[in-house]
Subunit: 319 residues, 2 copies
């Protein structure tokens, strides 16, 4: 009988799930629509029956030890999803309380970036680290902070919102209505905005002179940078500057051993890591210099969010 | 037999000590010169003999359970004092290893702001708090972060250096050679610099038009503010703005229940607390608003550093 944890990653469109063993092997995975069932109870019934069927389909017999859920605005302490902007359920959703009605198992919920941090700790490159940070670079900038071997949830369960550090006073508009947030600069849409700022500001030739804002993607920017497009290269330089300066302040808070970059934009590799490291070092207090590694995440992109969610179970059950 | 902890606070000029019981009562206290004995070993002998004599002078007989030391650049993990700019010992000083040669007791060392945080937790206003921050406002700006009930020491023992957050890119010179650090704005010398900036920038009448930079003290600024001096009032407004904006970023890291202000400048009370709170709230992400208290420290100023150092002992021995 193989022991597994269920990992669930709730996105605006799809809810992905997987059965993962203690070593991080994914035995089976799949997804359902997050929006097909309007009522939370019907959605949860569908989710459970889909997972149960999947478990029966695994060759060796499995014992589910617990369920871990990653969701936007997930509150670890309360098991609630609170005012998540991309989900149809409004207000404060008592997700775990409701799900427990059908599943008599240990259940844990947190936001997706925190789940990624725990995934890094349980299966990834942070297995022996007590103090590290993960930065998830996608549509926004998420983060998970680990201190003394524990995830930092804070007083209210919402700690680790580094995407909302103010890095430019009065700077770019952010979806939250605030200005100058780190994620308005360092994220897939952020680097796109930086490219357009540079197209406006400089006279440099660029393949992006014939591309619309809506056409442009972060992947196109890293591809162009690899081909030597000067605007694309400068966009990565600036993105690294913004992130590196912000991370210098983060190091002054928790002095981590390493900072992992995860997600779409992180796939640009050294294009983003090198300037980030350079600007971080330049802004660090002397005692912190040459101590903090900036590394790509050890979790492979495919299924990483589901893996992270499942890792919550092993972490909480004491691995 | 009363159980006590020795608290030692090492400053550039004086080394203060005290014998403190579990409830935070100081049975006896005193000080020696930090600089009189040039050799560490002679200094430590003098310190021990002075403390032993003091212990004998206490009316009821006492049992010393441990020694806690607060020192600039104190490394909790290693018990070392590393490159402390204001102390005569140079390089990395193996303080605890040396002191243990004469005292066979549990010994702990950390920096003074961390000691203040632990003091707040053991004796002060944070007794029931698992997530809080202390900001010490003196010659510099120190900080101690508490997460999940534990002090954040970080990977290297030096976490919690909020005085060195960069709040103005290319801003004021700082003693570290960097520019725009929080403590160059928010500290006793910082508010003095702000007053002089305002004297230069505005045409407002002020009692400080007849005061030199070297004459000016933070106490004079708070006294003048209470008398309605407009420059002094604006200096507190700006100091609160700098601190409040920085703390909004700090809340995004660890989401604390409260932030305590401690030390000389904190004695200005609402003059500093009110604008700090106002600017912090204005810059917080919505989910953090109206949740974080900014409070005066519950440790009384006199002897607070010694109290904090002694609290390390009770904290580490499990109170």
């Amino acid at each position: 009988m193989k022991e597994v944890a269920v990992g669930i990653d709730i996105g605006g469109t799809y809810t992905k799930y997987g059965l993962i063993d203690r070593d991080g092997n994914c035995l089976i995975n799949g997804s359902i629509s997050t929006t097909q069932e309007k009522e939370l109870s019907s959605y949860l019934s569908l989710l459970k029956s889909t997972i149960d069927e999947a478990a029966e389909g695994v060759k060796e017999s499995v014992k589910i030890k617990g369920v871990g859920v990653g969701a936007p605005n997930g509150n670890f302490y309360k098991g609630t999803i609170e005012y998540a902007p991309n989900l149809a359920w409004s207000g404060i959703v008592p997700f775990i309380d409701e799900f427990k009605k059908s599943y008599d198992l240990p259940m844990y919920l947190t936001n997706d970036a925190n789940a990624a941090a725990i995934g890094e700790m349980v299966y990834g490159s942070a297995k022996n680290m007590k103090n590290f940070i993960i930065i998830t670079l996608g549509t926004g900038l998420g983060s998970g902070l680990v201190v003394n071997g524990e995830l930092v949830y804070g007083h209210d369960g919402f700690a680790g919102e580094l995407g909302h550090l103010t890095i430019v006073r009065g700077g770019r508009m952010c979806a939250t209505g605030r200005r100058g947030s780190l994620e308005a600069y360092v994220s897939a849409p952020g680097i796109r905005r930086t490219v357009f700022e540079l197209l406006a500001d400089s006279l440099e030739a660029s393949e992006f002179r014939d591309v619309t804002f809506n056409q442009l993607t972060a992947k196109m920017i890293s591809d162009a940078a690899k081909r030597g497009d000067k605007i694309a290269l400068e966009a990565f330089e600036r993105t690294g500057k913004y992130l590196g300066e912000a991370l210098a302040d983060t190091v002054a808070h928790t002095s981590p051993q390493a900072i992992f970059l995860f997600g779409g934009l992180a796939n640009a590799g050294e294009l983003i890591i090198e300037p980030t490291k350079r600007y971080m070092e330049r802004n660090l207090l002397k005692i912190f210099r040459d101590k903090v590694n900036i590394l790509p995440s050890g979790l492979t992109e495919t299924n990483a969010a589901v893996m992270g969610a499942s890792a919550l179970v092993w972490k909480e059950l004491g691995n």
